[in-house]
Symmetry: C2
Subunit: 209 residues, 2 copies
């Protein structure tokens, strides 16, 4: 299974497959045809077959897909069964909401700590996670072997912090700061740019008016 | 200017142009060539020219773009200068973070209220916004002429609430619930699916390992 060769258009659809399979599993569905899955997901059955064929022959003619098996395999492809340690930088409103976000552990992500510059929050706990001062960052990241950082900091300081973290060995960022981070190609950045999303909403409403 | 005829590939890039122009404005830059803008944004100068030509002749040969003018025009196209009233459904961690999100007002969005089912939060204020009970929703939406709802509720109840809101006249949703809302085509849905974003991050890290 050579996941590296699969186009990003396909791999970006995998989380959605995974989500629908998770719901089917919860409902106790054992198998599903590409036709039924296509009706639920509102994509064509042929796209589903093509997408999943990239990862080997999960479906069987006349049987469809085994839900549990396909769910597990897609989870493996997505890399969800490895434990990854992450830290949250910034204990503001977004950082707090994410610290309380319960899906991390379910997906193999372990929050090891939260970092902030505000003396009023350093030393407190948020959703059971300790808040450290930024000066503790270098030693912490190395000692705890942290690989991922969530950036929930103002855009003005996001780039400087990200660069420092890359030097410390961080390989992936979930970036909530509204800035395009310019980092080495080996570093993965997944952006959540809320303001741009909000503008898309405004635009799509305004063209319908 | 017929914004309706422009492809969504182009319009999805507008918020990013808007953001870069906003930064240039803050820095006091009065004009910029497509070449300079392309270096900052890391897209080709010809793409910038093509994209912006869709909206008329903003650039002038040998002069470049007037930053203030282009910023204002893109803001108009994005529909950011109209006041739109919105409500937040769900006063959990995400709802609270969004209530504290300061960029709404800057972009023409006015938070009129927050709604929840939890008796412990109903009647309180979050970031200066009153929390109402869900039973007050129908009358409130009509009286206050609310057009947009932010869904920050569990996925299990998102669809039922969204359908009710459409019946009440809501035309746009910023949806944080991890569910694909099936609503009439006239309704705009902008999804922020955090869990899928997190899975993309996991996948992209895992293929590099």
């Amino acid at each position: 299974m050579k996941a590296k060769e699969i186009s990003s258009a396909v791999t970006k659809r995998l989380p959605r497959y995974y989500r629908y399979l998770s719901e089917l599993k919860e409902q106790g569905t054992e198998r599903i045809s590409s036709k039924e899955l296509s009706e639920r997901m509102q994509v064509t059955a042929s796209q589903i077959r093509q997408d999943l064929n990239n990862f080997g022959g999960f479906g069987q003619q006349g049987y469809g897909y085994n839900v549990e098996h396909l769910y597990t395999e897609i989870g493996k492809i997505l890399g969800l069964y490895k434990i990854r340690k992450l830290i949250i930088i910034g204990a503001g409103h977004i950082g707090q909401a994410l610290a309380n976000y319960s899906d991390f552990e379910k997906r193999g992500f372990h929050i090891s700590g939260i970092f902030d510059v505000d003396k009023n929050v350093i030393g407190t706990e948020i959703a059971g996670h300790h808040v450290y001062g930024m000066e503790e960052l270098p030693e912490f990241v190395k000692r705890e072997k942290i690989s991922i950082a969530i950036l929930a900091v103002p855009k003005e300081c996001a780039h400087e912090i990200a660069s420092e973290l890359v030097d410390l060995g961080i390989v992936g960022f979930w970036n909530f700061a509204l800035v395009d981070l310019k980092l080495p190609d080996s570093v993965v950045v997944e952006n959540v740019h809320l303001e741009e999303s909000l503008m898309n909403l405004a635009y799509n409403i305004s063209v319908r008016e």
